[in-house]
Each structure stands twice: as structure tokens, then as C-alpha cells.
């Protein structure tokens, strides 16, 4: 694994790729957190017997 070429982060294209990946991961993480909030909310509603 150590013999792979290291990307040049001064290259604008590589930098753009890095930013795009960071953005996609941040959005994905935000989506997961929102989904967990909704899940906990729905579980609570079900557990206290309001729904079903």
C-alpha cells in the first residue's frame, strides 16, 4: 500500500476532487443524522403508544 503515487494537492483538479469528496461525505453524514433523528422520533412515538 505504500508504493502508490501520492496525489498532488496543489493541482487544482486534485483539489477540486478532494473538495467534492468532502462535500459528498458531509452531505451523506447529514443525511444519516437526519434519518437517525426521524427514526428515534418515530420509535418514541410508537413506544409511548400514541401511534399503533
Amino acid at each position: 500500500m505504500t508504493d502508490r503515487p501520492t496525489p498532488d494537492f496543489n493541482d487544482p483538479q486534485v483539489l477540486a476532487q478532494l473538495r467534492a469528496r468532502q462535500r459528498s461525505r458531509a452531505l451523506f453524514m447529514a443525511g444519516i443524522l437526519v434519518a437517525l433523528c426521524v427514526l428515534f422520533y418515530v420509535i418514541t412515538i410508537v413506544k409511548i403508544g400514541v401511534w399503533g
Binding site: R4, F9, R19, Q22, R25, F28, L39, I43, V46, W51
Partner: protein, 324 residues
Amino acid sequence: MGSDRCMTEAVSQIQGQSAAMTAQPGVLMPAHWRDFWALTKPGVIRLVVFTGLCGLLAAPGSIHPVIGFVAILCIAMGAGGAAALNQYYESDLDALMKRTANRPIPAGRMDREAALQFGLALSGFSVVIMGLAVNWLAAAILAFSVFYYAVIYTIWLKPNTPQNIVIGGGAGAFPPVIGWAAVTGDVTMLPILLFSIIFFWTPPHFWALALFVKMDYARVGIPMMPNVAGEKSTRHQVFGYSLVLLATVMAPAALGLVGWTYGISAFVLSAIFVALAARVGFRTAGEGDSLKPEKQLFAYSIVYLFLIFAAVVVDRAVVPVIAA
């Protein structure tokens, strides 16, 4: 002016990150979210979710649909977390095998530490959510199944014994038990038999695969049965386990835990399985052999498990509704 300074700070921050990344061998770019998805072995999760769902649907009693969904989600998350931990531990070996070389860590798309953190977080969350939302028996079995796969199988059995798949098969056999426990809060004879079906299905399923990728395993020194006991012995064992599987699959019907719908379906499906296993068991592969019977058995074994579990659900959940 202010935006220029922000831009400069952002660039220096990224350059700082990049310096940190280049200092760490093997880390190229932050992993894409698709790599995290690949880390969970989605193909395996499909079977895990299906068998877990069947255990849940076959159990007597009822469960709120939302809680049932949460139980299945937790089973999937636990399996995904265990798969991530497996890939974290085996990344060096994966890099040497053609079948696994393109996984996120050996392909250089992901840092090992990120995989470890992801696996631990996913496993931990799945157990805690299962305990809080469903019940703690299901959570305990889920926790043990993750431990079984990530530690007992991956770290202990797989590199040390050709029986790795036989004993390790237990790791993939827990989902129907967890699904059952999620509904009933206990474990009775039928879920134990469902566990046994997957347990005895694993050796012929996996050894059929090992027969046509055995060079991969030999190259990295993993003691798979064909490399240790030889091809002939493995073939005989594939056939032997298919007979044990036939007996196990018929046990729920023989004990009266399921009806004739399951009994007939299971017998027909298992007879085909034994016939395919017999073709593999009593042949000798020559030089340049396409290994078609082995590939057919491997492909059929996946369909077989889906259909057996579907038959359990149809027999226990659908037929009584139609009869009523």
C-alpha cells in the same frame, strides 16, 4: 477582502490536511461515501436481511411494523459493521487476492482507521438501538453475532483452521434467531433449526466457491479445505454436508413445527441440492476444467436458501391466513 482571507484559510486548511494525508502511507483521498457502502458487503447483507425478516415473520405473535422495521435495520447495520471490521482486519490479505483486491482499503480508496471507526460505530449503534427499541435479548444475540464474525471467525478461525467455514458459519446463521427474538422475546426450537439450516448450508455453499478460487486462498496462506485436505476430500465433504443439510431442512416438518407446504417444498429443493452436490462430490476436475458443476452448485445454493426461508414464511404466516 474578507472572502479572500477565508479562501486563503480554506486552501491552507486543505493543504494542511493534504500534508497530514501524504504523511500517512496508503492514504490518498478521503473515501467516497460509496466506499463506506461497499465496506458493508451489500450482497451479503441482502441474504442476512432476508433470513432475519423470515425469522421475524415466522415467529408467533405480533410486532409493531415500525419496531419490526427497526429490528431488521439493526440486523443489517450489525452485519454491515461486522463486514467493515472484517475488511479492516483482512485488508493486507485482500490486496493479494484477485476477488478482493478492488475492495476500498486494498484499492487505496480508504484509510484503514476510517474503516475501523465506521465498523465499530455501526456495530455499536445497531446493538444499542436494538436494545432500546426492540428488546435486549435480540440485542444480546446481535452483539454476539458481530463478535462471532469479527473476532471468532475473522481473527481466530479463518487464518488457523480449515474448519473455519464450518464453525464460522454460525456467524451468518444468527439473523433468523434475532428476528424471532425481536417478536417473541425468547428462542425456541424452530429458530434454533433455522440457525442450523444456515449453519449446515454454509460448508457446501462456500466450498463450492473455494473449489474454483482455491488458488487465491493458497496464495495468501488461508487454510481453506481444498488447499489443506485436498480437492477430493473437499468434494466428498460437500456431498456429505448436503445430506446433513437435507436432514436439517426436513427436521421442522418432521417435528410438526411447520406444515406440508414447507415439507414438500423443502424436500424438492433439497433433493435438487443433493443432486448438484453429488455431481460436485464424485467428479475429478482435469486441467483447464471450467468447473461448471461447482459454479452451478454455488449459484443454486444462494437461490436455495432464499426459497427455503420463503417456504417457512409462507407456511407459517401466509397459509394460516388463507385457511382462516
